[in-house]
Assembly symmetry: C3
Homo-oligomer: 340 residues x 3
């Protein structure tokens, strides 16, 4: 069994699922529990999810530790709206084929149960509806104009936060030990390790992230993973596979610094620095210097892909892009990570 | 007749209009309708707008298709607050002279009824009040401190989203077929063609936009228009007429790529690329190469304004800014636009 | 006496203060008032703050002009929640030692009572709790999961705006004469002088700011101060002391322009320009030219720290970073500051 989630779904007027919030997620759930759930809900043998009542779950409360708090809250709640409770059971890590399945995988990433690039996310776009995320929750785009008009006529403010397939992470998962200065910049499905700070100009896409501790003031594109102790300066760019990026999935090793307004289209090993304002693309021709600054060779950047202890600069007097041994390791001390 | 809008206005305590939401907008409305409205509301002969009752509009419902849904909603509504219903009639596309007139023109752009740079927007700044946009709607800045204190004392959270003359587009218009990852980044008056995606780092000002399909991860400044199939990478900049930009209004042709952290102060024709991290200003001296890479001439970038099939790079070994024939057209396939 | 504030505090379930909103702030309060308050609330002799009732303050209303509006609002309020009213009295500008003290100092900056870099902010990080800032106010991170689940079960949307030690400024202070296109980009403790506009891509950290008038489309890092008439273009960077920045606190003089995608790691005097896309770090070797463009010397940028009338470019044909006398002063006229 790959994963099990107990979730609360929002739906449009037609009954299609718009999003699922999973307060209870298990990776590798027990076969006993999965078999029992499938026996009670035969639909789970062929579908990713089934809608259940809270009572139907009670028999499994010993295997579902979060259930008690859900039950306690439901008993106190005064909501008029019926809540859609889902059991989502993914037997294997196959391509995404349902909205609840897509949301469960995104939760697994943000809950740090699965690292980026280690799950099958094929089909995720097709299974995530494009939704208006609002101050009144997700709204189907075809229902939005009437909702907006109604709110205005009633003197309410219906604030539309985004129109997107992916919601922001913090409305589903807030991992421990992180700071996110503007929650709009981190998508559900981002992986944020303990000690990761995303400043206002930082960004983390889904299936991407930082091991922690890290200071993220730049953009971590889909598929990119940044190891511990590395920093992305303001507006620093890691090339994704869109907008001119290649097919190469980029990773950044430990204790690297991609300075402000710099960027990379290649992976970096450990202890690498790219100076402020310099963008390294895979095709950039680079003069490599040894540690006495003597020229060694000229190579395309892609040949340096993933190597450690490199310092990339553009010579300020010749305009030449050079790669030197990086003698100044980036020390991310406690002070740095307790302050910004 | 230029344009007609039926709108709902917010006002401050003095009765000044702070914003107008137009559920019903017509470009080039019928003269019959305009004449009838002017006859009933003589103020429209000299002013842009008049406040009306819903009943007063009923006689014109055949010409105002959206009226039915407004009426249906009003009949169901339970609002305590009186709603200010406006008829705004702009006989000609003259300079902006009222807040309702300014909002109607901004709606025309975002509703795709008018393209950027094809309307008279003179006077728009003077007619847009600077407003605190909040979770409780627009608030006059002089009324804000008391509102904030009152909310705190009552245990409510009054969230201030922005303090600006322009609100965000999505609270008025969400065009079909778009995605906007952070709605705070698109102003009312932006033009977003079908298939346009604005990522978290993207931005579109008013009277600016993208024809669609486009991937916008950079900034589309006021007046700038991007034709179909072109992409702006993360933090890519199109020079506006502020902060050092010139007077030149920039356009980007079809199938261009302004890569991440790059920028342009000149217009591009079709199939142009600017490499990541390179900023072309009108005064940048550029060596032009032919398709055998032989140098042809040196020119200032403004002489290349609007030309097609150009690839701009800064040579990584000489630091020289060069312009080559762009052999690699940017193929924006369906995959790209279904994914980010 | 350094400063006095009357504030409303939010607390977690344990009673710890999460934030304080100060409707009444005094710099250099009268000794009579301070002594009287300390006499009535002996805790103030040793602690920064004390919780009081509104009645207890009434005796001092002559010295507390804002008290009348608080009282008037309280008499009308219908809140069920008890409000925590604090008196915070900082006898001296010593290191920060309490959350109410930290918030009072941040208010002093945003209220323009104190300029950046002129207060003792030591200890501020340790005294600001990391909080989930939500549509229902600040929430203790340990209480968040239950709050999120409860909201979902009740059909409400609990929107998490950020997870940070610093809240956004506009929910506490909106100074006069400013515009802030995306309020998420300005932290409480930012100093925004009259006439300052922060566009969507602009950012101002705490203990940092702009004298006004200024157009801010780039990032003003902690400690950085920008004098009047200077502009930061889109994504322009001012190096802070994090992510590779040095220890140098940067200032920007009057009538400067740091163009789009440019940046500086040194201070600029008056009337300096950095061309679009160029990043000056303290170690950048720069060829200095006289006003006939004849080379004078080569220096590291840090030797030009704080000098006036400089134009920094990277020569587009040689790649050489040069510094010329800046002949084109940046004229920030009324038109510019009334429009963006």
């Amino acid at each position: 069994m790959f994963s099990l989630g107990i979730g609360l779904a929002s739906k449009n007027l037609k009954g299609d699922v718009l999003d699922v919030f999973y307060p209870s997620v298990q990776l590798d759930p027990s076969k006993v529990l999965a078999d029992a759930l499938t026996l009670e809900h035969p639909a789970l043998a062929t579908a990713d999810f089934v809608e259940v009542s809270l009572d139907a779950l009670e028999a499994h409360s010993v295997h579902l530790p979060e259930l008690a708090s859900i039950e306690a809250l439901v008993s106190k709640t005064t909501s008029q709206r019926p809540v859609s409770l889902l059991v989502t059971l993914l037997a294997e890590d196959t391509a995404v084929r349902s909205t609840p399945g897509a949301y469960l995988k995104l939760h697994l990433l943000s809950l740090r149960m699965v690292r980026p690039n280690s799950m099958n996310l094929e089909g995720i776009y097709a299974n995530l509806p494009n939704v208006a995320w609002s101050s009144e929750g997700p709204i189907d785009l075809s229902e939005l104009p009437e909702r907006q008009l109604k709110a205005r006529l009633e003197g309410r403010t219906l604030d539309i936060l985004s129109v997107d397939k992916f919601p922001k992470m913090t409305n589903y998962v807030v991992p421990t030990g992180v700071r996110i200065a503007d929650a709009a910049r981190v998508r559900l499905g981002a992986y944020m390790g303990d000690g990761t700070t995303v400043m206002h100009e930082g960004f983390i896409n889904f299936n991407a992230g930082a091991e922690g501790p890290n200071m993220v003031e730049g953009r971590i594109s889909q598929g990119v993973f940044v190891a511990k102790g590395s920093d992305l300066g303001g507006s620093a760019s890691t090339a994704g596979t869109l907008s001119g990026g290649g097919n190469l999935v980029i990773s950044i090793g430990e204790d690297c610094l991609i300075s402000a307004n710099a960027g990379t289209g290649i992976s970096l090993g450990d202890r690498c620095t790219i100076e402020a304002g310099l963008y390294i693309t895979p095709g950039t021709v680079i003069e490599v210097l040894d540690d006495t600054l003597a020229p060694v060779k000229k190579v395309k950047a892609r040949e340096l892909n993933g190597q450690s202890d490199l310092l990339f600069i553009r010579h300020s007097q010749t305009g030449q892009v050079q790669c030197r041994t990086n003698k100044k390791a980036i020390a991310l001390n406690d002070m740095l990570h307790s302050q910004n």
